[in-house]
């Protein structure tokens, strides 16, 4: 342990802590920009500088380790002048049109400028990067280089965590630029639309592609506007509206969506259950008939694009099942349209997702039939939260509403799709009972829960040992996929989610860190425990749709509506 003094307060912290940690331990928050609690230290923005007695220059608090007897000042005149100067240097390259910025009100730079009473007067020549045009090429992510402060947080998550490497750093000094190589548009790169860069960006340089206007217009039209909400949304939406991480707000979201004018509010947990029926059956068929194993889940569209781009030779390992969003989209425009006697063209299907890649998935050519898109618009949690605020709805005081039938029932198995390991656990609950014919006593497969990057388990299905693995975050997925490609993966069934933590860590959620993620994860399993039905095959809505329409899992109708195909995208890498 090391003892030091910060602004006159004695503090004892562990050896190896930084000045930032030590200050935080005595309740002093030092401003930071390039620092991110989940990333390695970069120390390039310098806004966190402090004065250390005996040191010649100011020291960045994020990267300076504590030493015994240090005397630190975090707010001396010297520090304040330096920080003001740093803000001036940042604003010499940062477009100040905050009012038109997607991050207005949630921008970390804006917050620091406000805290420091910064008057936005810059003594340096102001040179804004880029040509004033935003990169709107990606259906998921909007990039505005005029806002970039070169903090490298997006670069770090894209290269180190996700190992996608769509973002590059180029040049140096004043000319430094973070973005795709050769000034390419995002859609031309290997970007897999996961939106983790949006989560990492402290300013408005990377934001979620905004589809709110289309939805507002449709809410005003004659079309029937139906909406589905994904499992993770109910544990992150309240957080996006200022409540604590992990607050469950399913009923209030339904009420809010009705108030916004959506005609029908459906539960994606239902189609998650449908996914389990299809994927579980597909897995058992592969196991029985010697199909390609290990089979890998296909719920995460970022992961799918990653596999198509970097592991095209492994596409046969992917389950052919559409994601829950995709399945629901197809069911709404067919079964539902028929049952309410409407032309699919008169139905506008919206989904609320924690995910930016779902916007890409909805636009895939495979996701339409007879000229009708399965899903017409995807809103992220961030966008729905903004719509709720725009409509002046006091989310905190809303009463809880029920989902609409016939797709208003989801099981706990569907709900846990929101967390890493959830799809695997949900599948195992159903697969176990299907194979053994016995009722599963303990539904909690805890080995596949939690935040370990790669989780493994062996499940005994009446003598047949099934080896499963779960990975979340594409850096972890790469470890498993290298083994799969080399034919050395000793697994039967693998779940992969593109985002760290699974959907609760998705790019469309409110900005997160691991601490918030664990609160969200607890909430997901709390929801599962509280639901009366916890197994997909026991969901009465699922049983009904098989009885009335689909006939059987993996049947002809299922294959037409609920399954899909993949494309080799590796030429974009070469």
């Amino acid at each position: 342990m090391v003892t030091l003094t910060i602004d006159g307060h004695n503090v004892t912290v562990e050896d190896g802590s930084t000045l930032l940690d030590a200050a935080s331990a005595v309740g002093i928050r030092i401003p930071t920009l390039c620092f991110h609690p989940d990333q390695k230290i970069k120390a390039n923005c310098r806004i966190c500088v402090v004065e250390v007695e005996g040191m010649r220059t100011l020291a960045p608090a994020c990267s300076t380790p504590v030493r015994e007897g240090m005397r630190v000042k975090t707010l001396s005149k010297k520090v304040r002048m330096a920080r003001k100067n740093i803000l001036e240097l940042i604003f010499a390259h940062h477009s100040k049109d905050c009012l038109q910025c997607g991050k207005n009100g949630t921008c970390e730079l804006q917050a620091i400028a406000e805290e420091m009473h910064f008057d936005y007067a810059v003594r340096y020549p102001v040179v804004i990067k880029g040509n004033g045009e935003k990169d709107l090429s990606s259906p998921s992510i909007t990039r505005d280089v005029s806002k970039c402060i070169d903090c490298n947080r997006c670069f770090s998550v894209c290269n180190d965590v996700q190992t996608v490497c769509a973002l590059s750093r180029s040049k140096r000094g004043y000319k430094t630029l973070v973005g795709p190589a050769f000034g390419k548009e995002l859609a031309e790169t290997v970007c897999i639309n996961c939106g983790q860069c949006v989560q990492a960006c402290p300013v408005g340089a990377l934001t979620v592609h905004d589809d709110r206007d289309d939805v507002w217009d449709m809410l005003d039209s004659d079309k029937e506007v139906v909406v589905q909400i994904a499992p993770a949304v109910r544990v992150t939406l309240a957080e996006a509206l200022g409540e604590d991480p992990g607050v469950i707000s399913t009923g209030r979201i339904i009420t809010a969506l009705r108030r916004l004018g959506f005609d029908k509010v459906f539960d994606t947990d239902f189609s998650a259950d449908l996914t389990i029926m299809e994927e579980g059956t597909e897995f058992l068929n592969r196991l029985k008939n010697g199909g390609t194993l290990p089979m890998i889940t296909s719920c995460s569209p970022g992961w799918i694009k990653f596999c198509e781009t970097f592991y095209p030779e492994c596409l046969s390992h992917l389950s052919t099942c559409k994601s829950p969003q995709g399945m629901f989209g197809a069911i709404i425009k067919t079964y539902y349209a028929e049952s309410v006697g409407k032309d699919p063209g008169d139905i506008y299907s919206v989904s609320v997702m924690p995910c930016t890649a779902k916007k890409f998935e909805a636009k895939r050519p495979e996701m339409k039939r007879d000229g009708h898109r399965d899903i017409d618009a995807v809103l992220t949690v961030q966008e729905l939260a903004k719509m709720i605020r725009y409509a002046g709805i006091d989310f905190g005081s809303l009463t809880e509403g029920p989902f609409d039938e016939p797709f208003g029932t989801g099981s706990g198995a569907g709900e846990i799709f929101g967390s890493t390991g959830g799809v695997m656990e949900a599948a195992l609950r159903t697969v176990y009972e299907t194979v053994t014919g016995r009722t599963l006593e303990n539904l909690d497969f805890t080995a596949v829960r939690g935040f370990d990057g790669v989780k493994e388990a062996v499940i005994d299905l009446d003598g047949k040992k099934v080896r499963v693995a779960v990975a979340h975050g594409l850096g972890n997925a790469r470890k498993i996929m290298d083994a799969v490609r080399a034919g050395k993966a000793d697994y039967d069934f693998i779940e992969i989610m593109a985002c760290p933590g699974g959907c609760i860590g998705g790019g469309g959620n409110p900005i997160r860190n691991w601490k918030k993620l664990s609160r969200r994860m607890e909430a997901v399993y709390r929801l599962d425990k509280a639901l009366p039905i916890r197994k997909s095959h026991e969901n009465p809505a699922v049983r009904r749709i098989y009885r009335d329409y689909l006939i059987e899992p993996n049947g002809e109708k299922s294959h037409e509506l609920l399954h899909t195909s993949y494309v080799d995208r590796s030429n974009i890498v070469k």
């Binding site: 490497c165 590059s168 040049k171 190589a181």
Partner: protein, 162 residues
């Protein structure tokens, strides 16, 4: 855009193998590759290099745009690197640079119309004791005067060894 021949691509692959066996030789390997590719790594070329070396394009782009000896835009066969640091400057580097630009009818940063030379300024090349100095590709020319450099360029133009 570089149109690389099959032979060039094979040579790039061989160099990539050198890197794969010894990662610390990245700079050397890339410099050698650049010599094969019109002194530039354009989009197509970098794609081939990335594939051969097994390094993502984004990381190679980071690397080659950081160091001034690499370029992403097409350059001449010979890169004239004129030192702009203080010791060369006080010994008459400005006049030498002016003489080069006048003789070749280009501005610093430009490539001659015949594609033979690209003229660039660079930081100190460590030859202060015999300044002013320039580098033409890997060759060093020191104690230059405006007249001397013209003679050297003339040899390059005629394809005669200096």
């Amino acid at each position: 855009m570089n149109q690389l021949s099959k032979e060039t691509i094979d040579e790039i692959r061989q160099l990539a193998d050198v890197y794969k066996n010894a990662n610390e030789r990245m700079m050397e390997v890339l410099l050698k590759m650049q010599r094969l590719t019109n002194n530039c790594f354009d989009r197509e070329t970098l794609g081939i290099v990335s594939d051969a070396m097994g390094i993502p394009e984004s990381k190679l782009y980071d690397y080659i745009t950081f160091y001034s000896r690499f370029s992403t835009e097409g350059r001449g066969k010979y890169i004239i690197r004129m030192c702009k640091s203080a010791p060369c400057h006080v010994c008459g580097a400005r006049e030498v640079a002016q003489s080069i630009c006048d003789y070749l009818e280009v501005e610093p940063g430009d490539t001659t119309d015949d594609g033979l030379f690209t003229v660039e300024f660079c930081e100190c090349i460590g030859l202060c004791e015999s300044s002013p100095s320039v580098m033409i590709n890997d060759e060093i020319y020191s104690n230059l005067t405006p007249n001397k450099i013209k003679g050297i360029l003339d040899c390059y133009q005629k394809g005669v060894r200096v």
